[in-house]
């Protein structure tokens, strides 16, 4: 390809995947934005009412669990941001997804829907059936669709940003993170009166420990899979509609959720419960890894196209482009490629290369002072052995 063709391809790919695009939160003609704001506002109001009524009695367990889960949220926020290393979702979109998961999907949708469904199962089938299967037949439907609704709305609120199935995967993960954290705090609060309220903090901490241990393989994971499914179902300019694949991913998320909520029943309440839990965790991790690899392909290809002109003119080496557009194995291979003494420089080169990709995305592939500065930063960590930097065939 000639340089002109490479630059044209870069401009095309930046536009396609919405690289560097911002979200506008002033769209009075956007019905999705109105619904998004209204449902979150209701959820916030409902949550505030709950806190107001419970905090006089159980303020201490509420405060402790909120503190613990906030730290937990920071950890998973970092992790989810870390895996979104290609056309990264803007911060405000991630915050919006978290808020939908934390306040709209939980308080406005799941809380009412789950209780009513479980009660209906008890009345229409029998109470034992509701104990065994009620949660498993209510939560996967109500909660997954409630969280997926957030991804759907955000697709139409930020249509230039949320364009690939991987975007849906990441945004879904943030919706799931919000849901997970607020649900965990609610569970901790609900467990405070256990044991007739003799030790509210101790009762809450038991729940906190259990939720901390099982957090990753629940809502964050299910919603990431479901979010990717929603993007496939709806389709975008960068991702043609694939109804079958979309429905399959939504179904996978719901089945994983069903299995998790029905573990005791599936294991017949016996000593095999830990075995079932372990199996479910393994299957869930395998499922999310498969979906990650299926959805991340176009993002990696876009990264490669974005950086191809930089490899062509020697700003980056072909190996560096491979690492930047590749998985952790390629990045590790690149970092280790120069031996122990060169590992730090190579790590900096990768980080600086990612900064250059971000700058190019923000500038829509145009030359700007920020892009030039990012290139200059890269040059600071060039090999200083006197040899010219390796070209694209290195």
């Amino acid at each position: 390809m000639t340089r002109t063709e490479l630059l044209d391809r870069r401009a095309q790919v930046v536009d396609e995947v919405g690289w560097g695009q911002r979200v506008s939160w002033v769209q009075p003609r956007n019905a999705c934005l109105w619904v998004f704001v209204a449902v979150i506002a209701y959820g916030l109001w409902y949550a505030a009412a709950q806190v107001r009524s419970q905090s006089p009695a159980y303020g201490e367990p509420l405060g402790i669990s909120a503190l613990v889960f906030s730290a937990y949220a920071v950890l998973f926020w970092w992790f989810t941001t870390h895996i979104d290393r290609y056309s990264r979702q803007p911060l405000d979109l991630r915050v919006a997804a978290f808020l939908w998961g934390g306040f709209a999907a939980t308080w406005a949708i799941a809380l009412h829907g789950n209780s009513a469904l479980i009660s209906l199962y008890s009345k229409l089938a029998d109470p034992s059936f509701a104990v065994d299967w009620g949660a498993g037949l209510a939560a996967p439907v109500v909660e997954e669709w409630g969280k997926g609704a957030g991804v759907l709305l955000l697709m139409f609120i930020a249509p230039r940003v949320l364009r690939t199935a991987f975007d849906g995967f990441v945004v879904g993960a943030f919706v799931g993170l919000g849901f997970e954290i607020l649900e965990d705090i609610l569970y901790a609060l609900n467990s405070a009166p256990e044991g007739f309220g003799v030790d509210p903090v101790g009762s809450s901490l038991s729940t906190v420990a259990l939720r901390l241990a099982t957090g990753f393989t629940s809502h964050i994971l299910y919603s990431a899979i479901f979010g990717a499914g929603v993007v496939y179902l709806v389709g975008t300019v960068a991702q043609r509609r694939r109804v079958g694949r979309g429905l399959l991913l939504c179904l996978v998320a719901m089945v994983l959720h069903w299995a998790w909520d029905s573990t005791a029943t599936l294991a017949a309440g016996g000593p095999l419960i830990p075995v079932f839990l372990g199996l479910e965790v393994v299957v869930a991790i395998v499922a999310v890894l498969v979906v990650f690899h299926v959805t991340v392909g176009p993002e990696r290809a876009a990264m490669r196209d974005l950086l191809a002109p930089e490899a062509e003119d020697g700003t980056l080496t072909a190996q560096e482009v491979d690492a930047l557009a590749g998985a952790w194995k390629q990045r590790r291979a690149y970092r280790r490629g120069g031996g122990l003494h060169d590992r730090r420089r190579r790590r900096h080169r990768l980080e600086a290369g990612k900064d250059l990709a971000d700058a190019l995305g923000v500038s829509q592939g145009q030359e700007t002072p920020r892009v030039e500065f990012a290139r200059a930063e890269l040059a600071r960590f060039r090999e200083d052995d006197g040899a010219p930097p390796a070209g694209p065939d290195a």
Binding site: H112, P127, S128, V198, T265, G269
Partner: protein, 211 residues
Amino acid sequence: MPERQSVPPDWVPVERRWLGMDRATLLPAAIVVVLVAVTMWGLPALDRSVPVDDPARAGDVIRVDAVEFDPAAGWSIDSGVLASEPPESGGFPNTAQVSKDGFTFSVVSDTFDGTPAELMAQLQENNERLSNGATIDMGQVETFRTDAGARGVAGRFTFAGGAGLVAAYVFDGTGVEVVLTGPDETDDADLQADVVGMIRSIRPVTSVEAP
């Protein structure tokens, strides 16, 4: 017609509007509104419209985690699981409720290390902590014995909606709270006998049935 310039971001062309809104956003917004309406109002309304139709029969036993009691025949089992119909998951819920003629009889079982009197004091402490307006008349708490010979305490309590009876038991580390609410007065001797019978029937589960 002059040539059209490039459309600015977030500009909604007039031909794409309906009642001033972007037509492309109406369907997804409507889908979510329907989802929210169904879960927030539809399902709860449907649940309320379906009556509980599960009258207790003579000989029924409701198991509440580690304890059980004999619901009076004819009372409606609003929640709770019969000991004869154990869930496959092996765990029974720790709450149950039966009702009749405006009276509700609810049972909660949970871990408690202490005496029935101490449990009653804890229940009053919870009322004060929650500021729920309920007050147990601790000066009038009386001791009684169940059919199985276990000791319990019972007393009257008042709350914003009226008055009721609360009883507390402790069976080897398991506390039980029973709350009866309903009309202030009743001259239905059968109903009173039902309540007394249920209160006295509460006992720990001695033989665990295989699920």
